[in-house]
């Protein structure tokens, strides 16, 4: 893959790493919340109803949807700014 590297590629790389680690930590917090609920308040998981479902299923499916959302956000944030320098 040959692509003309923009001048601020170094900064772009650092930005990539920062965003990646921050999103990982954010997801880890959300995920840890799920585990904490399961460990400390297992009864709650069965009882609260959102859209007719209980908390466990909502949170579990929510984790999956959030992972997809994060991936899409990550993809959007890291578009290569190709034309910014030439203009």
């Amino acid at each position: 893959m040959s692509r003309q590297l923009p001048a601020d590629y170094e900064a772009y790389e650092l930005r990539k790493i920062k965003i990646g680690i921050r999103m990982t930590i954010l997801y880890a917090i959300v995920y840890a919340g799920f585990i904490a609920f399961a460990v400390f308040q297992p009864g709650r998981m069965g009882m609260q109803f959102f859209f007719g479902q209980n908390l466990a299923i909502t949170y579990g499916l929510g984790l999956i949807i959030i992972a997809i959302l994060f991936a899409l956000i990550y993809n959007h944030l890291l578009r290569i700014p190709t034309l910014n320098n030439k203009e």
Partner: protein
Amino acid sequence: MAIIVFLIFVLLILGISFKSGKRSKGVGGYFVANSSINWGVNGIAFAGSYLSVASFLGICGLIAFFGYDGFLYSIGFLAGWVIALFVIAEPMKRRGTFTFSDALNESFKRPGIQLAAGLSILVVSLFYIVPQMVGAGVLIEPLLGISHAWGVIIVGAVVILIVTTGGMTSTTYVQFFNGGLLLTFAGVLTAAILTRGLQTAAHPVPANISGLENYQYQQISIEWEGETPLVDLPGGSVSDRYITINADTGDKEQVFFLISRLVELDLDEHGAYMAEIKGHPVRLQRSDLTKGLVSIETHDGRDYLRLQDWWQMISDDNGGYLLEETQSRITSRHGGTLVNGIPVETFSHMRLVGGIAQLPEEYAGSTGPIGPWKILSVLSERATILQRPKSISFQSENGDLVTIHY
């Protein structure tokens, strides 16, 4: 017939592997397919590897046997993928390294790093591969009739062949094929379940083309003669019993009785004996009778099959006791195996274990076709009572190994 289909699949996969293997040359080709794989293909290949035996059989089994606790396991895999995407994938691609130990080595440049990374990858892979291989053997055994060990060896050999000849290119295409098939058929299964809906055990679904009707397990009342129950079954008498005791309280937890009874036999058009075992019509083979595992008796001019099966003692609503049918698998010390009283070579299908004892009142025993959100909410309502499948294994007095599903 099944073996032919299996062989066709294997040859197809090996063909894909060899063809795409020719295109991948060099280290880059072997490890990352020279980055030439379409993102859609790669995505479905990932989905296929996520839907591996561990999820497809393992998580389903965990949820079926342990309920909610199994569900918690299924969320675990997901987090690893997130970390791989955000933290590992991009830097490794940028540096052009192919393995994790290479990437670490570039940053830290110490020999111990490669060793540590390599060892950790091997250990994790070992733990992951063991259930995959067990699953391979478990799947192949009933499908093809070959033994578990051979199933593992065949699948392992095919996988090694694919990976070594084609590298990542062929692995990805094979996984794409695998993932596409799994996603399609899991979708079909889900649609079929949703169309059938939920029923309680007491509300049987009538037999249709799928033959998946429910079976109502018999319950009989018993009268006691001292310690031995008298059973109201034709020709029935109790031959053995098994009792489990609660270690803490000393109370009897479960009591099982081995009952020898007579089952009516009919003759089919070829003159072979047919009996109805747990709702399935079973045709007896001549070899069953000569081996002495089952026997036929004649009473009042009618032929009967003498069957031995285990029944469980449960309490009824009035404080008395009932005996309920169970399903059993008995391996006698002479080597023959009986499933529900019939030799396993003749008929080995067991009925579905577990079920729904009670649904919320508005469904009156059967929900009919149901949507995906609705089925989850019905299952989590308080009024829904599930019967978890339970089993117990022990050695009976005459040395037989018995497994009872109740």
